[in-house]
C-alpha cells in the first residue's frame, strides 16, 4: 500500500480516531481497489471472507428473488463499510452485493484481519467497536424504514 493509500485508509470514517499503530497493522491486510459499475462483490450463500471500506461510488446490497431480478435491500456509499458476514459463523454471505457505479474501496482480507485481531487485542477491540457501531446504524435505519413513515395515512389536519 502506497503512503497516500495508507493516509486514505487512516482518513476513512470507519477508522477515524483509531491509533496510528492499529491503522498501520490493518494496512497489511488492506488493498485499495477500484471496481467498475455492475461488478458483483459477492453472492448470497458464498463463503464470506472479505469486507470493504467504501471511498467512492455506490454498492447495492441485494437478495435473489426466484424468477425475478434481484431485490435491492439497501445501497451503501462513501464512508460505509460493507460486509459483516466474515466476522461471525457460518461465515457465509447473507445477501449479495453489486456496484451501482464505479466504486473505490479498501478491501480487507477477513482471515488476515481476524489473525491480526487475535494477536493484537487493541486492534481487535477497536475493530469490534466500529463494526458494532456500523451494525447499530444499519439496525436503526432498518427500524425507521419498518415504520413506513411516508405511507402513514395522516389526517385532514396539517398542511401537506
Amino acid at each position: 500500500m502506497s503512503s497516500s493509500e495508507a493516509a486514505g485508509l487512516a482518513d476513512h470514517p470507519f477508522l477515524r480516531g483509531m491509533s496510528a499503530d492499529c491503522v498501520a497493522l490493518l494496512g497489511a491486510a488492506a488493498v485499495a481497489v477500484s471496481v467498475p459499475a455492475g461488478r458483483r462483490l459477492f453472492d448470497e450463500g458464498a463463503p464470506a471472507d472479505k469486507c470493504w471500506l467504501l471511498t467512492r461510488g455506490n454498492v447495492a446490497l441485494d437478495l435473489h428473488m426466484p424468477g425475478q431480478r434481484n431485490l435491492i435491500v439497501e445501497t451503501l456509499g462513501s464512508g460505509d463499510v460493507i460486509g459483516f458476514s466474515w466476522l461471525s459463523p457460518p461465515h457465509v454471505w447473507q445477501f449479495g452485493a453489486e456496484t451501482v457505479e464505479p466504486t473505490g474501496a479498501f478491501e480487507l482480507d477477513g482471515a488476515a484481519v481476524t489473525a491480526l485481531c487475535d494477536t493484537h487485542p487493541d486492534l481487535g477491540y477497536q475493530i469490534a467497536l466500529r463494526m458494532l457501531a456500523a451494525a447499530v446504524r444499519r439496525l436503526q435505519a432498518t427500524r425507521i424504514r419498518l415504520l413506513d413513515l411516508y405511507g402513514m395515512p395522516g389526517q385532514d389536519a396539517g398542511p401537506r
Binding site: R69, G79, L149, Y150, Q155, A157
Partner: protein, 271 residues
C-alpha cells in the same frame, strides 16, 4: 370580510396525478384572488359541503395557485377528485415562509420526505430562479417507493438548473438503480459547509427530527435548519388554538420555524 376569513371561489383549471393518491391542482380565481404567497405558506382549501383542510402551496411565486393534495380523508379525497371546472373555496395564504431570500450566498440543502416535497418545491424553484445568488444547491428526497415520488418528472430539469438532486426510496422496484435506504443516509454522504448552509426540511415529523439531528451531527447549527411542522390547523388566523404547540400557534407562527425553536417542542410527548 377578508379573504382570510371567508373562502374565495377558485376554479380547477388542471389536475395532474402525481402518484396513486396525490394530485396537483392548478387553480384560478373566479372572483377576487387571495393575496400573493411566499414559498412555504399554506391555504385552507374548502370542498364545499364536505369540509376544509390546510394544504401547502406547491407552486412558485407568480405561477398561479398550485396545490398538491394527498388523499387521506374525506375532504382531501373530495379535493383530489375535483375535476376541471369544479369550484372550491380558498382562504389564505397563511403562515411563515422558508425565508430563502435571506439565505443568499449560502449553500442550500433541501431535505424532503414523501409529500413533504410539495411545500419545499416553491422554495427550490425560487432558489433555482436566482441560482447565481446561492452556492451549492443540494436536494435530498426520500420516498416510500419510486412510484410514490412526487414531481418525479421535474427532477431532471432541477438537475439541469444546477441542483444536485438525490433520491432514496424505502423499497426499490424493478429497474430502480438509485439509492435505497433512509434519507438521513444521504445527509451523511453529501459535502456540507456547516457554517454557510441553510437547510430546509419537510416530511413526516419523525423523519424531520432524524434529518435535523443528522444535519446537526454534520455541524449545521439548529438555527440554520428550517422545518415545516404539521398540526391541526383550522382557522388559519391564530384564533381557534387547535394548532397550538407549546407557545406557538402554528397557523401564524409556523408552519416553517427554525429547528432551534422546534427541537425542544418536538421532544415533548403529546404536545
Amino acid at each position: 370580510m377578508s379573504l382570510q376569513a371567508v373562502p374565495a371561489r377558485y376554479r380547477v383549471v388542471s389536475r395532474e396525478a402525481e402518484t396513486r393518491d396525490t394530485v396537483t391542482l392548478r387553480l384560478e380565481p373566479v372572483d377576487q384572488p387571495i393575496g400573493p404567497h411566499q414559498p412555504g405558506q399554506f391555504t385552507m382549501l374548502y370542498a364545499f359541503g364536505i369540509g376544509e383542510v390546510p394544504i401547502s402551496i406547491s407552486g412558485g411565486p407568480g405561477s398561479g395557485l398550485l396545490q398538491t393534495i394527498r388523499s387521506v380523508g374525506a375532504v382531501t379525497r373530495a379535493l383530489c377528485e375535483a375535476g376541471q371546472g369544479q369550484v372550491i373555496g380558498v382562504r389564505g395564504p397563511f403562515g411563515t415562509d422558508w425565508g430563502v431570500a435571506g439565505a443568499a450566498g449560502q449553500d442550500i440543502i433541501v431535505v424532503a420526505g414523501g409529500i413533504g416535497l410539495a411545500p419545499l418545491r416553491p422554495a427550490l424553484l425560487a432558489v433555482l430562479a436566482a441560482r447565481e445568488r446561492y452556492r451549492r444547491v443540494c436536494v435530498l428526497i426520500g420516498a416510500r417507493t419510486p412510484h410514490e415520488l412526487v414531481f418525479a418528472g421535474e427532477v431532471a430539469a432541477w438537475r439541469d438548473r444546477g441542483a444536485d438532486v438525490q433520491v432514496i426510496v424505502d423499497r426499490a422496484a424493478a429497474g430502480w438503480h438509485g439509492h435505497v435506504g433512509v434519507v438521513t443516509q444521504l445527509i451523511k454522504r453529501v459535502d456540507i459547509d456547516p457554517g454557510a448552509t441553510r437547510a430546509l426540511v419537510c416530511g413526516p415529523e419523525v423523519m424531520m427530527r432524524l434529518a435535523a439531528r443528522s444535519l446537526c451531527e454534520r455541524g449545521v447549527a439548529p438555527r440554520s435548519i428550517r422545518v415545516s411542522l404539521e398540526r391541526n390547523m383550522r382557522c388559519g388566523t391564530a384564533e381557534c388554538g387547535h394548532c397550538q404547540i407549546g407557545p406557538l400557534l402554528l397557523c401564524r407562527d409556523g408552519p416553517v420555524i427554525s429547528y432551534q425553536r422546534a427541537a425542544p417542542l418536538l421532544s415533548v410527548k403529546e404536545l
